[in-house]
């Protein structure tokens, strides 16, 4: 709702391709969205929806031969998708922090966490060793690591899973970035630890005014954390809007099905809504709307043409059912 001011991150027409021997696979099609300063945008979808690829594209970490084939990514007005490698390294870390799912693989097991933090801090900020070490201790304290002054000289294996994820968050925040891309930051953690980490992320981003792109398959995490949410299916956004609207008044039939299929600890339903079939493979995307083979409300047009995002209140959803016939589809992008 606050996207009126200049967005911090603007993604327009992003297309990510993976050339293979059997032709080019398009993992992300014509994706456009933006994130306002300090905003938390949740990106949800099931495996293969393209949500992690989108995150990787923004931080410039798409593994070759995968490549951004079209579109633009702008951070604070500056284009970052076509930067040379060395320059992108400076953006990554300094302006965009990254948090990945598995905290053990994001940390180097051979260096103490302090060494890794100090290196990151000194790469991006003009600080001497002692000042960088002090900042590293402050960061560890800020993310809730007890006895940070002593723990700074410990190796990653000496930390528990939850504590490691705190260290990774400290690393992501080390250079005070304006945006953090968090890809499934709590998926590898137990529920009680997950709650702690979500709370921590929320608090830190509020205090620092950091925007977050939170990629996850867990709608519950999004519900508690995000301001807006984008639902992805088969490489496209099918619905995007304020979190309460998307969860309580979903517009796209896929979002409706997705919400109904999530078991809850507060309601008593005999059956979950089930979406038959599964996400199409990238090699065999259906014609028209990619969701049409699984959609309970499919009609002829869905098979022929792909709907664009139609506005419904503050939400926009890509479904022919939501097309307002009087207004020709002018495609007003916010």
């Amino acid at each position: 709702m606050t996207a009126a001011a200049a967005p911090l991150l603007a993604v327009e027409g992003l297309r990510v391709e993976f050339p293979t021997r059997r032709g080019t696979l398009v993992a992300v099609h014509d994706l456009s969205f933006d994130i306002a300063p300090g905003e938390v945008l949740g990106v949800v979808g099931e495996s293969g929806a393209g949500k992690s690829i989108t995150g990787a594209a923004i931080i410039g970490l798409i593994d070759p031969p995968g490549r951004i084939a079209a579109g633009e990514i702008r951070l604070g007005g500056r284009r970052i998708d076509n930067l040379p490698y060395a320059e992108m390294r400076r953006v990554r870390g300094r302006e965009i922090g990254a948090i990945f799912q598995d905290p053990l693989t994001s940390l180097n097991p051979l260096y103490t966490v302090g060494r890794q933090l100090i290196e990151t801090i000194r790469t991006h900020l003009d600080l001497n060793e002692a000042a960088a070490r002090q900042r590293a201790i402050d960061l560890l304290e800020e993310v809730g690591i007890p006895a940070a002054g002593r723990r700074i000289d410990h190796y990653p294996h000496q930390f528990s899973g939850g504590m490691r994820q705190r260290v990774v968050i400290a690393l992501a925040l080390a250079a005070k970035p304006k945006l953090i891309v968090a890809d499934e930051p709590t998926t590898a953690l137990d529920v009680s630890i997950q709650a702690q980490i979500i709370e921590l992320l929320k608090r830190l981003c509020r205090e620092h005014g950091t925007a977050v792109m939170l990629v996850t398959h867990d709608m519950g995490v999004i519900a508690e954390t995000a301001d807006r949410v984008a639902v992805m299916y088969a490489g496209r956004i099918v619905e995007i809007g304020p979190v309460a609207d998307v969860i309580h008044r979903p517009q796209h039939p896929y979002t409706v099905g997705l919400m109904g299929s999530i078991p809850s600890i507060v309601d008593d339903r005999a059956r979950l809504t089930q979406i038959d079939g599964s996400m199409p493979r990238l090699t065999a995307l259906p014609t028209g709307c990619a969701y049409h083979p699984r959609c309970p409300q499919v009609f002829a047009r869905c098979r022929e043409a792909r709907p664009e995002l139609f506005p419904v209140g503050a939400t926009r959803a890509a479904c022919w059912l939501l097309e307002v016939p009087a207004i020709a589809s002018s495609g007003a992008m916010a």
Binding site: E46, D190, A223, Q274
Partner: protein
């Protein structure tokens, strides 16, 4: 007695995780014993779904493996349909045990690792039959396999395919078909939907519910996901560091959680209904199971712990409609739970 299918009495299982002998000699260290399951009493009634929840390392998977006989208990006994199948007094007659065990099957978490990639689906589903029903003729077996595949929502023709040709959800259906091949009455399901996407998870949960109704199955359903357990189980046991700390009918457990750990877990679950609700952060982590705290193992994280909790391990006792292992609950000094869901 009549409707009791499985009874575990004071079952414990420990693992020796000591360093090698030579290291122990040089480093002057003793053996290290991990008590994965430490005194579990549990009964499962015919036709019900018993959910077992807990965080990683709490011993819930070990309970599953003890029941199906993949591990032998270090203490205690397990009885199935009144016959002791593990522990002291278990029959030595392997063939008889196998006949008893035919009634129970297991479904594993990872449908990618639990199906042999080099076998056709029909062979995978028929494997338990070849072991338990060697008397069946080939055509009978093929007909049976086709019926099983159709029962779980696959086509009979899918039997000629290999596992890699199926999605995660379809593979879990194959696992279920294999588990059903010996006409079991009891399925032990260890995180059967944890590797699946939510929409596929809903398909599998609905299928399991339909099969239960149609075939009168009993489930032990193990999961770390409280919402899934809330959805599928009739009764729920909550495990913490190898012990059951609370056991109650589902509605009771989720409506009036009694054990402080259960309350903490329920407060931690992110839920769609909780959009924008501030929650009380949960303190602490699960302690190292190699060196569990004295007394009640939850006491270092428990806001209501006192001297007795630090010394004496509480046992599971009836409290209201539940069974709870907590001194504070038993002494009545636990305040009622503050419901975290704000009005919205």
């Amino acid at each position: 007695m009549t409707d009791e299918l499985l009874r575990m009495t004071d079952v414990a299982r420990s693992f020796d995780v000591s360093p090698p002998w030579l290291n122990r000699v040089f480093e002057r260290k003793g053996r290290v014993i991990l008590k994965a399951v430490d005194g579990v009493d549990l009964t499962i009634r015919k036709g019900e779904t018993l959910g077992l929840v807990g965080e990683s390392g709490c011993g819930k998977s070990t309970v599953a493996r003890l029941i199906v006989g993949l591990y032998a208990p270090t203490r205690g006994t397990i009885a199935y349909e009144g016959v002791t199948i593990a522990g002291a007094g278990a029959s030595r007659d392997e063939a008889a045990l196998r006949r008893t065990r035919r009634g129970m099957q297991m479904i594993f978490q990872d449908p990618y690792a639990s199906l042999n990639p080099r076998w056709r689906v029909a062979d995978i589903v028929a494997e338990p039959l070849r072991l338990h029903r060697p008397d069946l003729s080939r055509p009978d077996m093929a007909a049976h396999v086709a019926a099983l595949l159709e029962q779980v929502g696959l086509a009979a023709a899918d039997g000629t395919k290999y596992p890699h040709q199926f999605s995660g959800g379809q593979r879990q259906r194959i696992s279920i078909a294999r588990a059903l091949s010996t006409n079991p009455s009891f399925l032990v399901c260890d995180e059967p939907t944890s590797a699946l996407d939510v929409s596929v998870q809903a398909q599998v949960l609905n299928l399991m519910r339909d099969l239960q109704r149609r075939l009168g199955l009993t489930y032990l359903f193990i999961s770390h996901n409280l919402a899934v357990v809330h959805h599928i189980a009739d009764r729920v046991g909550v495990m913490y560091l190898g012990r059951i700390v609370e056991l109650a009918p589902t509605r009771e457990l989720f409506g009036t959680p009694r054990h402080p750990y259960t309350r903490m877990l329920l407060d931690a679950v992110p839920d769609l209904a909780m959009t924008g609700v501030a929650r009380t952060a949960v303190a602490g982590e699960v302690p190292n199971p190699l060196d569990p705290p004295s007394g009640c193992t939850f006491h270092p994280r428990c806001p209501w712990a006192n001297a007795r909790c630090r010394e004496e391990n509480p046992v599971l006792r009836p409290a209201g409609g539940a069974e709870v292992a907590c001194h504070a609950v038993q002494e009545g000094r636990l305040p009622p739970r503050l419901v975290a869901v704000a009005a919205r």
